[in-house]
Symmetry: C2
Subunit: 458 residues, 2 copies
């Protein structure tokens, strides 16, 4: 056992880029989750792959836990600190390393955020299509296998990442995958790290496929008398094979909250679908014709349309407001978000079930859904001091998980497992967990990487 | 050491479904590769997951190598037998387990072939879009991470598989992934097995996403004065962001071979692009307008069109003939196929390089390319007794690999590594191999699963 503490040793290497101050440690002690803060012993701010390697080598020798930290926008306790360990903030690794317009690809450091990348690409006619609610770091989005509103057309992080730089627990730096659209060259290590939530290594660089900005983008909003009518319309849109880019649902309660939050005039307090079509003008018109008919058949209102960027943003404002409008309902409160995903044929049944159960417990529970993927969230704003409410929420969540698994769904569509869903993961994949643990043990024999996340090793 | 041989023990369980006859052992001793046959000690024909489990448990106890075998259409020695081991033929596991039209998904046993599945789906308005040249088994396609002519629009096996049943070397049966379009539930085990070429377990069931048959399918053929003109047109088509479903290249030599093979009248002996557009009629027309202009600018001929299925097949016949027309050039000969893939901006340079090198060595070398993905094959028909020709071909292949890696490409776009590309994989991913081996050792500690494929463990 070394006499010098790990903080002291790291401080001697990283100087002012290793902080042990209480305020810094608390700033990096959790994400936007429902956990109490757990400050690590120190927070280190490396600038290069080699610096991350130095940290991991040292921590591996000393068997000190390491928590990688991006923008801290994860929702399931994925980045909650470790009182025996250190946290690595990747915020100084925020460079766009290269963009190849002619190949629709780019390479970024882990803490480049999705908005930063899209701002950088603005003049190039290409964009990065994965958009979880927050302005998350792309490294964090890789680590949780994030998606968002456009996954129905553009896929998830699994779809757009073709390679990674990863620092392994041993300190070794490897480059997985590459720049080609496809490859069959050995094990798919890239996809092993995507969604591994920092438990197998630190993702420091990401090779991304980008998409051409479509010739025509058309947005529409449509209100429905009941949530079921809205969800059914979304389900039918997918089942007709319409190539839609976004199809988002907000329930009546969420519309109310969003409208109040931003004082919106364009939309009504009713269950609502937000559509977006990407393509040529002709193909969009073809799609819209079918979707309008489906909406009509389900008692939908006349579509409200927008085509230019500013108008589209205005029309979609209620959707963009969701998370922060809900958070604003509770002073210093927290938001508990469910995240189930079911086969599209089951989405109406699953949302109906959630709505009925919400009504039973009598809590305010706005809902938002990426319905094209069969994925939706029920949001509960709550005061963390009110233990009774938390128990009610948790009971609701357990019931929704059971219903989801009965419908052949998954316990997390895009937020990951973190601390919060370990029991749920065990319900969904009891037979997979031993193999996940085997892999974890072989890649990280000292269990230093984000221990206790996804599963408990012992 | 047990006194009873593994063949005898398996025979006592599987009776006539365990064969030790010379002819059967030779029938399952290699794929469509360039290797000499290596018969295993026995070939077993299990019918269920549990039977595969029984075999693996026994082989694991005895440390007997196991080679999983599908339709035997792999090209890189992926299924070459093992003289100390046994081969599992999955051909009796050929049932389509279920199809959910409303969710565009299905579950199949490993040896369902792609044509069998599409025949089954014919009336349902949906189809399975991954089409390597051969009528391969879907389990084998998963194991090699196959793709084909439609990957440019529909992706590869990685894109369409959402779950697997895998029998692990221990005999444990696990179900990875599930039926939802997306999930963030723990490690992505599904993608760890895709492309693992039978070295981590036996894939026995595959959960697949299907695609709706497009409203309109339009096929076209265009000839060019030089190969470079054709490749440049394909490159520009992708760079314009045209949503094309297929864009295939045949060089002049391959056109000549195909035309002779099937006595074709519709096409000319010139470098040729085969296009296919899937979408609404309007969107296809929009795309075609742009592609015709790009072709014109590169001295392309007038497009020859076809819309109904029979006409389309006629027009594309030269493309479908490629492999067998080349094979027919040599009696009992073999075909050596390269399989490099580069970023789209480098495809013209890479194909030009290949053409020049082929001209230097003076061998007949037809070429076919999935140009939309930056992937192409140079095919060499040869007599395996002519060792000098093989050396020439191998020298060409080595040069093409070096050029490909210089252009940031991959050593295999869709055929996998098998025995043939182990050295090439080491060139592309020297830093990845140790981690691949770590995973292999942890999942298959006795190294029974397809040993010696992808990498040498020691």
């Amino acid at each position: 056992m070394s006499i010098v503490s790990i903080e002291t040793e790291l401080k001697s290497i990283f100087k002012e880029r290793c902080s042990t101050s209480t305020s810094t440690r608390f700033n990096y002690s959790r994400g936007e989750d429902t956990y109490d803060p757990v400050p690590s012993k120190a927070v280190i701010f490396p600038r290069t792959n080699e610096e991350v390697s130095t940290i991991l080598k040292l921590c591996n020798e000393r068997k000190v836990p390491v928590v990688p930290f991006g923008t801290g926008t994860s929702l399931e306790g994925n980045v909650v600190g470790n009182e025996d360990g250190i946290t690595i903030s990747l915020e100084k690794m925020n460079k766009i390393l290269n963009v190849n317009i002619e190949d629709f690809d780019c390479r970024v450091q882990a803490n480049v955020t999705r908005e930063q990348l899209n701002e950088h690409l603005r003049e190039d006619g290409i964009f990065f299509p994965i958009d979880p609610g927050a302005n998350a770091a792309i490294g964090g989005m890789a680590a949780t296998s994030a998606s968002g509103t456009m996954a129905v057309k553009y896929g998830t992080m699994k779809t757009v990442i073709t390679g990674l730089t990863v620092v392994l627990p041993s300190g070794e730096i490897i480059n997985t995958g590459g720049r080609t659209k496809k490859t069959s060259a050995g094990y798919n290590l890239t996809n092993l790290f995507i969604g591994s939530e920092g438990t197998l290594g630190v993702i420091t660089e990401i090779q991304l496929r980008l998409s051409p900005i479509p010739e025509s983008i058309m947005s529409a909003v449509c209100h429905f008398p009941t949530l079921e009518d809205a969800v059914k319309t979304a389900q039918e849109t997918i089942q007709y094979g319409i190539p839609i880019a976004r199809i988002e649902m907000l329930n009546k309660d969420q519309m109310d909250i969003s409208i109040n939050y931003s004082n919106l005039k364009e939309v009504n307090v009713e269950p609502t679908l937000f559509f977006e079509f990407h393509g040529s003008e002709n193909s969009n018109k073809d799609s819209i014709k079918v979707v309008e008919e489906l909406s009509n058949n389900n008692k939908g209102s006349k579509f409200k349309w927008a085509t230019d960027l500013e108008e589209r943003n205005k029309l979609w404002q209620a959707r963009w407001d969701v998370y922060y409008s809900v958070k604003a309902l509770v002073n210093n409160g927290r938001v508990y978000s469910t995240d189930v995903c079911v086969p599209i044929s089951k989405i109406t049944e699953c949302v109906n079930f959630a709505e009925q159960e919400v009504n039973k417990i009598g809590l305010r529970a706005p809902m938002v859904g990426h319905l094209g993927d069969g994925n939706f969230h029920v949001l509960f704003p709550y005061d963390p001091n009110d233990k009774e409410i938390y128990i009610k929420i948790r009971e609701f969540s357990n019931k929704l998980i059971d219903k989801t698994l009965e419908l052949k769904g998954t316990v997390t569509g895009e937020h990951g497992v973190g601390l919060h869903k370990k029991k749920y993961l065990l319900k969904e994949h009891p037979d997979n967990i031993p193999l996940m643990k085997t892999i974890k043990r072989s890649v990280d024999p000292n269990n230093i990487m984000n221990p206790g996340k996804i599963f408990d090793l012992n």
